[in-house]
């Protein structure tokens, strides 16, 4: 795989993660209460961490990429998208985060299906895996704190 192609894909993923950072920054501005801002700040920090990971990947060769997949438990599949609002609660924020990760995961899965190139596939698999891990993290929080009785 040409280096430029590899770099382009990582740049694409980077752009998405930076958009996510920007998204949560905007949500922080919309949020009215300190408890919302604290959580949004934490999620934003995680997205910034993802940006750093991807930036580090740019300096690595595609062969060094490790693919990690986590099973999809569909915990957020049937949840309704929450809208950013100044009075959003813990549940709303987690749903927003899960749905975002879900969409990113679906995008990389789609890209994975569209290519036969094994190296490209590996990168998309890695990116899809990362997004599913993030989604799973939020799903676990949702399970533990939002619906402990369900």
């Amino acid at each position: 795989m040409p280096d430029t192609q590899y770099s382009e894909i990582i740049d694409f993923a980077l752009k998405r993660e930076k958009e996510a950072v920007q998204f949560y920054t905007e949500l922080e501005h919309i949020a009215q209460f300190a408890s919302q801002k604290e959580l949004l700040g934490e999620i934003k920090g995680m997205e910034q961490g993802h940006v750093k990971i991807l930036e580090n990947l740019k300096t690595k060769s595609p062969e060094a990429i490790r693919v990690e997949r986590v099973p999809n438990f569909m915990a957020s599949t049937y949840l309704v998208e929450a809208q950013p609002a100044k009075d959003m609660n813990y549940q709303d924020i987690l749903i927003i985060a899960m749905k975002r990760e879900d969409r990113s995961h679906a995008l990389y899965e789609e890209l994975l299906q569209q290519t036969e190139n094994p190296e490209l596939r590996k990168i998309f698999e890695m990116l899809a895996g990362e997004e599913s891990k993030h989604k799973r993290f939020f799903e676990d929080l949702y399970d533990k704190y939002v619906q402990p009785d369900n």
Partner: protein, 620 residues
């Protein structure tokens, strides 16, 4: 000298041709009898270090000692019996009383050593030749020094229960309470498990000695809600009760209730009076739930001027607005609250603190305790008081988050319970689906049954995973609540023929996926196994969240909020020295007794903070 005298010694030589009378190899040739009471063995894994063996030993031969590799855990003191064979009389009472049956005796009786210290040893801690001996003394099957069976609590029959909200548990008589108290071995393992560390063996002993006021005084040392906790406590103490290993755990909660019921209300103040002088410092408390009132009680005992601000017209928090009267009658809750108020704690009801700079008026102006004046903001309390404690609980119900949940026939479990407390009749109609498996779900389901509804509980996981108390689940079943487990909510639909009068609840069957040890299995929706059921009302009861909107942003940054919870230290300290917090907004257990314990600890923290402040002022 006769000839006999000369020959007699020679007759001894005859013996040389006979078989020996002594045992040549006594260790191998003369084992102890099958049930001989020889050296002790102890199953270190089964033993919980309750110390009952030490207590019963008539020769003071047993001490409980720390042992390397054995940690103190919930339900295990981390100690193990050490036996002094210079004192032991091998009576085996220790084996007979052992609450876990871990202590037994081998049939070995020979142990030779030149060091006398080795004969004070901890069975099971080091390898001994008799460790694997199958023979020796153990308690015979069916033989019990302790009574393994709990005194049954009289309760209303399920059919009778459903006719009203009258309390279903009727309480022990004096005879029953004493009989149950007699089962306690006073090991104290329960005290460590109780979040408030109540002196449980102490007040159970008081029942045995018919010293009700003494028992009540002991309870008030760590818990100012004995009448309430005697009914609805999550009784973590009973889970670790030593007797639970071979029989029914002691009914600690019911014994607590017995004392609270028996103590004369007129004696309460005398029992709980304080000798502390009045102090001038003022403490504001937000929330008159168990956490807030517990802090108020202990601060008042220390002499502080305490004001409690409560948004609702009555105190008790979730004890009143989240627990139905058939489990906790309001007069019993009021008994606990009245005692706190009677000490001089001012409780301002109908006073909702808000985080805005400008004060808003009270939400309701005619409730008890309301002075009709403006409700202060959090910042005002911070300015006007020497310390602030807040314990505002988890009042906001989370939704199912699925499509169609805005259907008019969807009502949250908490709002049903609140309505009933407020004397309103929730519009439930006939068929009700309650979604969730916690105590709120069970209470909502059982409340609906008392209102004549047919109730089905749907829960995502298995029954064994339900967070509700086991007895709540059992009682719900007795009362005719149906259960569908491994049912994942998918969406709520409005069937045209139902015209908004019924909700179609769509749910799918779950497959449980193991998540490894100590983690609940994950329910995963099987999309090919979807069901639709029509209900008059769908009641989500899956969890609740905090409402911290009253804390201004600049102050919240100092206090420290993580994932909608307040980060606190051991004594409820937040990042802002003057502000303390506790209860469901900060702790993990989210039950009344934990909130009570938090309130007590915070009172100590506030006391220390204010005394240090005073010292600083005096020295400067």
């Amino acid at each position: 000298m006769s000839l006999k005298d000369i020959l007699s010694p020679l007759t001894v030589w005859r013996r040389t041709a006979e078989k020996p009378y002594t045992v040549i190899d006594p260790i191998n040739d003369r084992p102890g009898a099958a049930r001989y009471r020889g050296f002790h063995k102890n199953d270190m894994e089964a033993c919980i270090g309750c110390g009952t063996c030490e207590t019963i030993c008539q020769n003071a031969a047993i001490d409980l000692v720390p042992v390397e590799g054995i940690e103190t855990t919930n339900g295990d003191s981390g100690l193990r019996p050490q036996i002094d064979y210079g004192r032991c009389c091998w009576c085996a009472l220790c084996v007979d009383i052992c609450t876990t049956s871990s202590l037994t005796m081998s049939n070995e009786y020979i142990w030779v050593d030149t060091d006398p210290e080795v004969f004070r040893f901890v069975p099971g801690a080091e390898n001994k030749p008799w460790d694997n001996s199958e023979l020796g003394y153990s308690r015979a099957e069916g033989y019990q020094l302790l009574d393994p069976e709990r005194v049954e609590m009289p309760e209303l029959e399920p059919d009778t229960r459903l006719t009203s909200f009258i309390e279903m548990v009727q309480g022990y008589s004096a005879e029953q309470a004493k009989k149950e108290a007699d089962r306690c071995v006073e090991c104290g393992i329960c005290m460590a498990a109780c979040p408030a560390h109540m002196d449980i063996p102490g007040y159970i002993k008081a029942i045995r000695e018919n010293d009700i006021n003494g028992g009540l005084a002991l309870m008030y040392q760590t818990n100012p809600f004995p009448a309430s906790c005697g009914r609805i406590c999550t009784h973590r103490c009973e889970e670790v009760c030593a007797i639970n290993h071979t029989g029914d755990p002691i009914a600690i909660r019911w014994l607590k209730r017995y004392i609270a019921d028996m103590a004369d209300e007129s004696d309460y103040q005398a029992i709980t009076k304080t000798a502390e002088p009045e102090r001038t410092e003022k403490v504001a408390i937000i929330g008159a739930g168990p956490g807030g009132l517990s802090a108020a009680y202990y601060l008042r005992l220390l002499g502080y001027q305490v004001t409690v601000f409560e948004a609702q017209p009555h105190g008790g928090g979730m004890l009143r607005y989240g627990i139905p009267e058939y489990r906790l009658p309001y007069d019993q809750l009021d008994k606990d609250i009245d005692l706190v108020a009677s000490l001089g704690v001012e409780i301002k009801y109908n006073t909702r603190i808000n985080g805005l700079k400008e004060s808003n008026g009270p939400k309701e102006s005619d409730g008890p305790g309301s002075d009709g004046g403006p409700a202060p903001s959090f910042e005002q309390l911070y300015q006007d008081y020497d310390a602030v404690f807040f314990s505002t609980g988890l009042p906001d119900p989370y939704t199912l988050g699925i499509q169609g949940e805005d259907h008019p026939r969807v009502i949250s479990g908490i709002s049903i319970l609140e309505d009933v407390t407020a004397g309103k009749t929730p519009d439930l109609r006939k068929s009700v689906a309650v979604v969730g498996g916690g105590n709120v779900a069970m209470d909502a389901a059982r409340t609906a049954r008392r209102m004549g509804c047919e109730v089905t509980v749907l829960y995502r996981r298995r029954e064994v995973d339900m967070p509700a108390d086991e007895e709540e689940i059992t009682e719900a079943k007795e009362e005719g609540v149906k259960f569908i487990t491994q049912a994942i909510p998918v969406r709520i639909e409005d069937k045209p023929e139902a015209k908004g009068e019924q909700a179609a609840f769509v749910w799918g069957e779950a497959e449980m996926v193991d998540q490894g040890e100590d983690r609940r299995p994950k329910p995963v929706l099987q999309e090919d196994k979807i069901h639709t059921d029509l209900f008059d009302t769908v009641v989500p009861a899956i969890g609740q969240g905090s409402s911290l909107d009253f804390i201004p942003e600049d102050m919240a940054a100092k206090i420290g909020i993580i994932k909608y919870k307040i980060k606190v230290g051991l004594h409820g300290e937040t990042g802002e020295p003057k502000i303390f917090a506790g209860g469901d907004i900060s702790n993990r257990l989210k039950d009344a007794i934990s909130a009570i314990a938090d309130g007590h600890r915070a009172a100590k923290g506030i006391d220390r903070y204010l005394r240090e402040n005073q010292s600083k002022k005096e020295t400067s």
